[in-house]
Amino acid sequence: MVKGRRLLSWAGILLLGGAASFYGIQAQGEKEPLKAAETGRPDLIKIDTLAAYQKLELPPVTFLHDKHTEALRKDKKDCTTCHLVEDGKLSLAFKRRKNTQAAALKEIYHANCIGCHTERAAAGKKAGPPEGLCRACHNAQPQIAAARLDAGLNQVSHFRHTNAKLIPADQKGKDNCSRCHHEYDPKAKKTFYAQGKEGTCRYCHLAKEKQGVKSLKQAAHLQCVLCHLDLDKRGVKDNGPYDCAGCHGAAAQARDARKNQEWVAALPNKEVPRLKRGQPDAVLITHDPQWGEGSPGKPFLMDPVAFDHRAHEKYNDNCRVCHHASMEACEKCHTLMGAKDGGLINFEQAMHSLSSRASCQGCHTGQQAAANCAGCHNYISKSSRPEDASCRQCHLLSAETAIPGGASSSQICALKPPQKTALAETLLKARNLNPGTYALEDLPETVEIKYLANRFQPSQFTHRKQIAALLKGIKGNTLAEYFHRDPGTICQGCHHYSPPAKEPPRCSNCHSGESLQARESNRPALLAALHRQCLNCHADMRLKKPAATACSECHQEKKK
C-alpha cells in the first residue's frame, strides 16, 4: 500500500470525525455547585435590550438588581447612580432617558457597567466582572433562575395605605386617595385627581407601554418604590419595601401576609372596613333603557335582579374581579347585542357565562369546585339548561309583580337610579334567607340498598348521617346557604332529575338493571348508577375513606 494513500485515507477519516465533533459536541463549562438560596432570585433581570434591534451575538446579561443596590447602599449611593432623573422623575432605564440606536445602547451598558466595576476593583472593593470576561455577564446557562412572584395590593394592604398617617390626606378632605389614584388628561398631558372615579391602576397601565402610557411595571415601580424610598430617606422605620425581594420575594410575601393577619386581628371588628368609594349597597340590574323597546310588539323582557353589592364586596378581595375593565356599570360595554368595547360579549353572556370569573354565574359555578361542593356539583351536567327555579334565585320576581300595581320591565328599567336602588333594597330585604331543608326526623335514618345484591349483601346506607354532613358543609357559606334555601334542593345531589320531594322516586325507576349497552348517552345502568353516585362523591370531596376499591366497607361480601 502506498504510504501516501494511507495517510490520505486516515486524514479523510480524521477530517470527517473532526467536522462531526465540531458541529455536534458542545463545550461544557465547569458547573459550580448551586447554593440553595441562589436557585431562584426575585431580583434577577435579563438584560436583552438589544434584542429589539438585532439578533443577539451573546446571550442576555443576568443582572442581579438587589445585589447592586445593596452594594451601592453600603457606599451611601442611591438610585441616581444608575437611573437618570427626568423632569424630577426617575427614568427606569439604565443611564438613559430613552432608547436610541443599538451601538449607542451597547456603549452605554458596557462603559457604565464595566467602568463602575473597574473603579470599584481599583478601590479595593468587591466588584463585578471586569473588562474581557464577557461570558461572566453574558452567561448562556446561568445557575440562577428568576423567581419573581407577582406583587400588588390586596384588601388589607390597601387599607393599611389608606389608613396610614404617613400618607397624608389631600387638602380637600380626610382621604389620601389622591396620593396614588389619578386620571390622565391627554390634551394637557398631565395627570389629575378625579374624586369618585378611583379605580385600579391596571385599567390604564397595561402589561406593555402603550402610546405614552407607562406599563404597569413601570408605573408601579415609579409610584410605589420611589415613595417607599423617599420615606426611607426621611428615616421612617415602617416604610415599605423598595428592593426587588421586598415585594417579589417569597419570604417577604409570607412575612407580609403574616403581618396583615396580625394587623387585621388587631382591628375592632377583626375585619377590614369597607372601601370608601361611594358605591351602592344594592343594585337593581335591569337592561339599559337606551337599548330601546326592541322590535314593535316585542318589548324586551328581563326580570330584574336585585344585586347585593355590599355583601359581594366582602366575598372578593378587590373590585377588579367583577369590574374587570372599568368601574362603570356592566351594560355600558356589554350591550344587548354585544359591542366592540365589550369584546362582542353581550349582556346575557356577561352575566351568565360559565367560563368567566367576572360573570355572576361563572363565579358561582367556580365556587362549586370546592371539595365540600364538588361531590354533587361535579356531576351536574353543564350542557343542559338550568331549571326555572334556579333562575328565580336571582331574578327574584317577575317584572309585573315587582311594583305594587304592576309595571312592565321597560317601566322598571326607566326608573331613576335612586328609585332603582330603593326597589333593589326592598327586594333584597324581602328574601327569605333561612336555609330550608326537611326536618331530619322525617327522613329515613338508614336506607337499605337491596338492588342487584348478588355477590354482596345489601348495603346499609347511613342516610341521615350523610345529609347532616352535607348540611354541615354548607353552613357558614352564604352562597351555598342562599342557593340551598328551598327544601329538597340539597337532596337533588343524589335524588336528581326529578322535582324536589320528600319522598323522591327510586333509582331503579330510571336506571334499568339490565343491558349495559349504550343507549342514553350519560344515563348509566343501575349498577353503575349506584356505584358512581357514591364513589364519585367520595373522590371529589377528597375523602380518603372509604376507598373506592374497599368494597366490604360499604357492603359485605356474601359467603359462598
Partner: protein
C-alpha cells in the same frame, strides 16, 4: 397470425374489459369501518382500578387463574402488559399534581384496519363486521409477525407450549356474543362504575362528544382511537394527557396496511419488468461479445493477410534476387569455364 385470430382476440379482450368492475384509484380509499360494528368506550375518569374487568374477562374466557388474585391491588406497583394468560390488564398511573391516581385498562384495540391482520401470511386474523378482530388457530403457523406488527404490543404467544402454541389476545368476546351467551363483553359486564360502555362505534363517538360537552374541563378534548392507526374500535377518554397513561401519541393516523402497500405494489412490477430488463442486458452483452469476436476475427484476418502479403512480397523479391544471382552465377561460371577452356589452348600453343 391470421386476421381472424387477431379479431377474435380483440373481441375477447373487449368483452373481458367490459365485464370488469369500475376501477378506483387505490390511494384515495378510506375505510371508515363496517357500519354496524361495535366497540367499547373506556373512560379513564371513571375507572377506580378495582380490576373487576380483569376478573370478568378471565371468567368468561376460562383463562387460567393468575398468580395473584384479582382483588390484589399491589400488582399496580409494576406496569403490566398482556400475556398469554391474561387478555387485559389495568395499570395505575400516579401523576404529579393530579388529585388521585388514574387507571387505564389495556387490551386489543380491534383496529379498523388491523396491522396483525395485514401482516399475517396465512390470513389467520379476520376483522369481523361485528367489530372484533379475531384469530383463527386452525391455520396459524406461529411465526409471530403479528406481534411485531401490532403498534400497541397486544398479541401474546404461548412460548411455553412446545407443539401447539397459540396467539392469545382479547376477542371482544366475539364467539360469546355471536352465540348469544353474552350481550356485552365480559369486562364491560363486570365493571361496577360503567367505565366501559359497549355499543356501536358511531354511537360511542357521539357519547364521547356529549360527555365533553356536559363536563367541560373534565376531559381532554380527544378520543383516543378515533383516528389513531386509521381508527380503532376501542376508544379511550381521559382527563390527563394520554402519554401520561403510557399510550403512544406518536402513532399517526395512517393505517398499517398503507405502510406496506407501496412496497407490495412494487412486487408485480418487478416480476414483469425484470425479465425484460435482464434479457435486454443479456442480449446487449451477447451482441457486444459477438461484435468483439467479429472485430477480433477481422483484425486477425487482416493481420494474416498483411503478413501473407508481406511474405509473398519478400518471397518475390528474394526469388527475383535469386534469379538475378543465378543468372549472374551462370554467367560467372560460363565466363570461368570459357576462361578455363581458353587456358590449356594457350599452353599447347607454346
Amino acid at each position: 397470425m391470421l386476421r381472424r385470430t387477431f379479431l377474435g382476440l380483440l373481441g375477447a379482450a373487449g368483452v373481458g374489459a367490459a365485464l370488469g368492475k369500475p376501477a378506483r384509484a387505490a390511494g384515495q380509499q378510506h375505510f371508515t369501518g363496517y357500519p354496524e360494528s361495535c366497540g367499547v368506550l373506556f373512560d379513564a375518569t371513571r375507572c377506580i382500578g378495582c380490576r373487576s374487568c380483569e376478573a370478568g374477562c378471565n371468567k368468561v374466557n376460562e383463562l387460567p387463574p393468575p398468580p395473584e388474585p384479582f382483588n390484589d391491588l399491589s400488582v399496580f406497583k409494576m406496569k403490566r402488559r398482556t400475556h398469554s394468560w391474561t387478555y387485559t390488564v389495568v395499570n395505575r398511573y400516579d401523576l404529579p399534581g393530579a388529585p388521585g391516581p388514574v387507571f387505564k385498562k389495556w387490551q386489543c384495540n380491534h383496529c379498523l384496519e388491523p396491522a396483525c391482520a395485514d401482516s399475517c401470511f396465512v390470513r389467520a386474523y379476520t376483522k369481523t363486521s361485528q367489530g372484533a378482530v379475531i384469530w383463527d388457530g386452525t391455520v396459524c403457523v406461529g411465526c409471530r409477525y403479528c406481534m411485531i406488527a401490532c403498534p400497541f404490543d397486544i398479541p401474546t404467544f404461548e412460548f411455553n407450549e412446545p407443539l401447539t402454541p397459540r396467539i392469545m389476545k382479547c376477542t371482544l368476546c366475539y364467539p360469546l356474543i355471536t352465540s348469544g351467551k353474552l350481550t356485552v363483553p365480559g369486562c364491560v359486564g363486570a365493571c361496577p362504575v360503567e367505565a366501559l360502555v359497549y355499543g356501536k362505534r358511531r354511537d360511542l363517538l357521539q357519547i364521547a362528544h356529549e360527555r365533553f360537552h356536559a363536563f367541560p374541563g373534565r376531559y381532554l378534548n380527544h378520543i383516543y382511537g378515533e383516528r389513531e392507526m386509521g381508527g380503532t374500535n376501542w376508544l379511550y377518554l381521559s382527563g390527563v394527557p394520554f402519554r401520561a397513561l403510557g399510550m403512544r401519541e406518536d402513532l399517526g393516523v395512517v393505517p398499517a396496511p398503507e405502510l406496506t402497500s407501496g412496497a407490495l405494489a412494487a412486487v408485480p412490477l418487478v416480476a414483469v419488468t425484470w425479465p425484460v430488463l435482464l434479457t435486454g442486458i443479456y442480449a446487449i452483452s451477447r451482441r457486444k461479445d459477438k461484435i468483439a469476436r467479429q472485430e477480433t476475427a477481422q483484425a486477425v484476418a487482416r493481420a494474416v493477410a498483411q503478413t501473407q502479403a508481406e511474405a509473398e512480397g519478400k518471397l518475390k523479391s528474394a526469388m527475383t534476387k535469386a534469379e538475378v544471382e543465378k543468372k549472374a552465377a551462370i554467367e560467372r561460371e560460363v565466363k570461368k569455364a570459357l576462361e578455363e577452356a581458353a587456358k590449356p589452348q594457350t599452353r599447347e600453343g607454346e
